[in-house]
Amino acid sequence: MWSDRLSRMRFLFGGRSRAEVDEELEFHIDRQIDANVAAGMTEVEARRQAAIEFGGRERVREQCREQRPSWSLELLLRDLRFALRGLLRNPGLASAAVLTLAVAICANSTIFSLLSQALLRALPVDDPSRLVVLNFAGSHPGHRHSEGGSSEGHTYEFSYPMYRDLREKNLVLSGLVASAPVTAGVTWNNRSEAVSVEMVSGDYFQTLGVRPAVGRLFAASDETAPGANPVAVLNFDYWRTHLAEAPVVGKNLLINGTPFAIAGVAAPGFQSVVWGRMPQVYVPITMQRTVEPEWDYLNDRKSYWITIAGRLRPEVTLAQAAASLNTLFLSVRAAEFTALADQSAKTRQEFIDHAHLNVEAGARGFSPLRDDVQAPLIIIMGMVLMVVAIAIVNVASLLLVRAANRVREFSVRYALGATSGQIVRQLLCEGLLLGVLGAGLGLALAPATLSLLIGWMAQDSPNPQAFTAMLDWRVFAFTAVAVIVGSLVFSLAPAVQFWNPRLAEALKQQAGTAMGGSLRFRKTCVALQIGFSLLLIVGAGMFVCTIRNLRSVNPGFETEHLLSFELAPAMAGYPAAGVAPVEQHVLERLGALPGIRSVGATNDEDLSGNNRAGDVDVSGYKPKRDEEFDVELPWVSTGYLETLGIPLIAGRTFNASDTATSQKVSVVNESFAKHYFASPQAALGRHVGRSGNANRAALDTVIVGVVRDVKHTTVHDPANPTCYMLYLQMGKPIGLAYYVRTWQAPQSAENSIRAAVANIDSKLIVSDVKTMTQAIDDSITSQRTMALLAAIFGGIAALLAGIGLYGILAYSTAQRTREIGIRMALGAHRATVVGLILRETLILTGWAVAVTLPVALFAARAVRSELFGVSFVHPSVYVIGIVTIGLVAALAGFVPARRAASVDPARALRTE
C-alpha cells in the first residue's frame, strides 16, 4: 500500500517519464546492434535483426506507460479533455442541458431549504430529541388566547394554574416550561417602540439548555408572585441591532412604562421554544399583568393562554410520560370542574370525559405557523419535483439526440480500434461534465434565489426573520448528486446502441431508418415533458385565478384610501384610567387633520386574520338546547362604521350621545339579526348581554342599529354574525387599531398622523402603519407566494419542454431528410412537408394531453383547499393550459419542419 502510494508520488515529481522509457529501450536496441555486429553482421543487417528480435517498439512503449501508477488518472484527464471538446463542438445543446440542470438544482435546493426550515429543523437547544410538546382534548370554557396552530382535540393553550400543577406534581419530566407571546411598548434611551415580548417561566432557559451570552438568564427565583419579578432578558439579535451591544446588565428598560432590570442576553441563535416566534425581550411570566395590562390571566383557571413544552427525564420514554402526565392532567381537570358555574352532565362530559392530555415529540417545537405553511410548501415541493423530472427527461433526450447525431463519429472510432469500454467511458465523462457544470451553476444561483424568495415572502410580514436565507447543504448535496447520477445514467443510454452485436450492419444503414426502441423512447420523453408541463401550467392557472379572485373580492366596504395603524397607550405607561381619554383625544385630533375624511378605531382589526369571538345572551331569544353560538365582538369607536363605510340598514349608528355613562348600546350586522330575530327591524331595541366572570363585569346593551355584513377575518372567510359595541362603554383600557379614510393616497397621511400623535404625547407609539390594500395582501401571503411560484414553475416547465421538444424533433426530422427529399422530388409542396411534421407533433401532443388531463384533474382536486373562487374543473384554466402547451409544441416542431422542408431534394437524396 505504502510503496504503491510512494510510486504515485514519484510520478507527481517526475519519476519514470516518457523520455526515460525511451532511453532504456534505445539502450537495449543499441546493445543488440553491437552484439549483432560483433557476431559478424553488416551494420544494416544488425539493425534489422535487432528490430525484429525486439518486436513492436511502439507497442512496448505503450505497454510500459500502462504499467505506470498514474495511468488511470491520465486516461481520465484525456477523457475529460475529449468530453469538453465534444461538448464545445455543439455549444447550443450543451448549454441547454447545463442550464436545464442548473434550473432544476437551483429550484430544488431553494425550495427544500425552505421546507426543511419550516417542517424539519430541530430547535437550537440542548438535546432537542428529549423535548415534548403538550396539548389537550376537551372543552375549555372561559377565555382562550391563541396564536393559531390548535385544532379540534389538540388545544395547545393551557392556563397558568394548570401549568403549575403539571410542573410541580409530575414525576416524568426534568423540566416543564411555559411561554406566551405579547406585543409591548419598550423604551430604551428615550426611544419607544412596539416589540415582541415573550413571557416565560423561570426554568425556561435552564430546561432548554440555553446559555447566556452576557449576564445571567432567568432562574426559578424569577417566577415568584404576580408583578414581583421586573427583570428582563434580551434576545441576542435585538441586543445587537437595537442596543448596539451596549453593556446592559443591571440597567433598566421600560416595558409599558414599568422599569425592568436587564439580567442578561440569551445566546445567539436562540429565539423561542415555539417555532416562528421572534421575541426581542423575555420577561418572567409572572409579569403578565404589566406587559399585557388588558388581561389578568395568572390566577385564572379559565384563561387558556400559554403553550408548554417539557424535557423528558432520562430513562423515561415518551409513552410512559404521556400516560403519567395524562393521569395527572385528568385529576386536575376533575378538581377544576367543581369550580365551574355550569355543572350539567353535558359540560361534565365535555370537560372531563372527553379530556385527554397529548404528549408529542417536540424536537421541532410547537409551531402555530407550521400548519399554515405546510400545505403550500408541500404543493410547491410537488411542483419542484415535476420541474426536476422535466429537467431530467430533457437532459436525457438531449443527450440521446446528441449521441444519435454522432453515430458516424463513434463508428469511425470503433473502426479505428477504440474498444466499447473506451466509448462508454467517454460518454460517461460527457455526462459527468454536464452534471458537474449544471450543479456548479445551480450552486452559484441558489443562494441568491433563496434570499430573493425569502425577501419576497417576508415583505411586510409581521415576523420577517421566520425564514433565514440559509441554504440547506444536505439538500443541495443530495440534489447535486441526484442530478449528476441522473446525467451519468442518461449519458449511458446511447451506449446501449453501440453494444449491439450487429453494430456493423446497423452502422451501414446508419441514419436511415431510426431504430424502433429509441424512437419509442423519444416519443415517451416528448409525452412526459408535455404531460408534466401541462400539469404545472394548469396548477399555475389555478393559483393565479385564486390570487386574482382574492384580490378582487369585495369585502363589503371600500378598501382604497384607507390607512390603519395601531396605538396602545398602555405601551407608553398610561395607567388604566388614562387610556380612554387619550384615545378619545387622538380620535378627535386626527379627525380634524386636513386631508382626512374620517377616523375610527377598533380592538379587532379587519381582514388581518384576527378575530375576537364569544357567546352572548340575547333578550327575547330562546337558545336551542345545548346551543353554542359564538359571535364576533369588536369594540369600536364612534365613527368606525362610517369610516369603513359599512352601510346602515336599520336604526342608527353610534354617535356623540353615546358616552361612557349613558345607556350601553350595540349595533349588530345582518347575519346576527337573521340568526336571533326574524328581520333587521325586529332587532332594534332588543338587549345583548354577557354574563360576568373573573376578567369582565356583566354587560347589557341595547341594539340601536343594524348594518350590512362585511368580511372581517380575511377576504376568503364569509362574514360572521357580529355585534359591535362601543369601546368607551366597556370600561376597560385597551389598545386600538385606528382606521383613517383619506382623500388622497393613504400613505401620504402617515407623517401628519405621526406628528399629530407625537404632539399629544411623544411617548405614544404608533406602530404597524399600513394601507388596507397592504393588509389584504399580507393576509393572503401564502396564496400570493404560491401563485408567484406556480407561475414561475409553469413558465420554466413550458420553456424546458420547448427546449426538449425542439431537440428531439430537430433530430428526428433530420433523420428523415431522405424521406422528405423523396416526397419533394415526387412533387410535395413545402407546406405539405411542414404540415406533415407538424401534424405528427400535434398528434403526439394530443395523446400526451389526453393522458395528462385526468391526472391534472386529480391533482387540482387534491389542492382545492388552497383554491378560492375557482373550481378544480374550471374549464378555462385547462383550455389555456392546453393551448399554451400546444403552441409550445407547434413552435418547437415548426422550426425543424421548416428547415427540413427547405432542403434541396437533390441534396437530400445524396446525403447517403
Partner: protein, 116 residues
C-alpha cells in the same frame, strides 16, 4: 474505469516471464539486455522471448516492489538502467517457484512416464 484488456497470446505466460526475470536477477543486478540474453542462453535457447515484452514486465515488477531500479554505467560505458531483486521480490520468487514445481509435478503425474 480502466477497461480490462483482452488477454493477448503472450499474457498466458506472463506470470512465468515474471518468475524467469526474478530468477535471473538472483545472480545480481542486471539491465534488460543482459536479462533477455540470460534467459535465452540459460534455457539453451529453448525459450526465445520477444525482447521488447521484457520491459513492460520489468516496469510491472518495479511497481509491485519486487525489483528496484537504478541508472548506472554498462560494461560498454553507456548509461543503462540496472534492475535489482528486492527482499519482497526474493520471497515472491520462492513462492512462484514452489507453485511452478507443484504444477509441473501434477501435470507430469497425469501425463505419466510415456505411453504407447
Amino acid at each position: 474505469m480502466v477497461a480490462k484488456r483482452v488477454p493477448e497470446a503472450g499474457d498466458v505466460l506472463q506470470g512465468t516471464l515474471d518468475m524467469l526475470i526474478l530468477r535471473t536477477l538472483v545472480m545480481g543486478p542486471a539491465h534488460g539486455h543482459t536479462i533477455a540474453h540470460a534467459i535465452e542462453s540459460t534455457s539453451e535457447n529453448a525459450l526465445e522471448i520477444e525482447q521488447g515484452s521484457l520491459y513492460p514486465a520489468l516496469h510491472r515488477l518495479e511497481d509491485r516492489g519486487l525489483v528496484s531500479s537504478e541508472w548506472g554505467v554498462s560494461e560498454n560505458n553507456r548509461k543503462a538502467k540496472f534492475y535489482q531483486l528486492t527482499g519482497k521480490g526474493r520471497k515472491e520468487l520462492n513462492a512462484a517457484t514452489g507453485r511452478w514445481r507443484r504444477m509441473t509435478r501434477a501435470i507430469s503425474l497425469i501425463l505419466g512416464e510415456s505411453f504407447d
